[in-house]
Symmetry: C2
Subunit: 161 residues, 2 copies
């Protein structure tokens, strides 16, 4: 199956929130996201990696306009679930490689990572699906990142998410 | 935009590898995934959360049949990049809620998390895209998880990924 990269999508309207050191037990993901859903805040990426020693970190992104409201809701949640701290950043941007047949081509993801590395762009967060590899980077690297990824994948135009 | 859940997909052919304590600097994601791509190993999920104190964890999933070969490749990588350790598990399964308009409905994700929590099913890893919320759980919970998610979303049949 030949992987085809259809385009590079980006979204500068992202703010990242990381709830660190949460108990890694059933119900915690719901106790974090439930109040955000109840407040009708649109969530884009949700990322959680495997825990260690009974805790893990739970991250998600919201539109920049919802950043402060989200932090306000999480203050109560943090106490309630006993999270170690909340780390947040509204100066991030998402860059995604969009294609078909991604699943069988981790070569596309590794090309993306190499291309960003060559420009000294640090990858803060990664999430993939069958048709997309998405990374969060410092917003100051958005234009540079999109430009060099274009070149690396031989594409002509971008798509703003 | 009304979110519609189209179905529940699952994949029991997953093995999870977590490269823990990697330096959080440009180039590391490529140094981990490059050798896996060069070996033509199919990678499904790639997850990395925000780092702390200069390190982070980098996780990905491969087909179970590639588990040992992947671990073999990573032994050299671990030394080369100075990762703290490699934590792996081939007894996991992926469950995904597939729908449209997911992005604006974190209510779907929170319903999924609540439903799994009510059965005492721990969520090991989470990754989302615009059309999917995917979680990794212990393989022993696959059938139970799929069944209760069906009921929670009022669906009739499943789709094996
Ligand atoms: C951390 C959180 O995902 C927890 N493992 C849960 O199942 O809710
Ligand atoms: C950990 C890894 O993603 C690193 N931040 C990189 O950019 O490669």
């Amino acid at each position: 199956e030949k992987a085809v990269v259809a385009g590079i999508a980006f979204d500068r309207n992202e703010a990242r929130i990381n709830v660190k050191g949460v108990p890694d037990k059933p119900g915690i993901a719901y106790q974090i996201l439930g109040p955000i859903a109840d407040a009708n805040i649109e969530v884009d990426m949700i990322i959680q990696n495997v825990g260690e020693n009974g805790t893990t970190d739970f991250s998600f992104t919201v539109p920049r306009g919802e950043f402060q409201r989200t932090l306000g809701i999480l203050r109560d949640v943090q106490t309630h679930i006993g999270a170690a701290k909340i780390d947040a950043d509204d100066k991030v941007a998402k860059i995604s490689i969009v294609g078909v047949g991604m699943r069988s081509h981790c070569g596309i993801a590794s090309t993306m990572f190499r291309t960003l590395a060559e420009e000294g762009i640090n990858i803060q967060l990664i999430s993939t699906s069958e048709i997309k590899v998405s990374v969060l980077v410092d917003e100051k690297y958005l234009e540079l990142g999109v430009r060099v990824l274009h070149k690396a994948f031989g594409l002509d135009q971008t798509v703003e998410a």
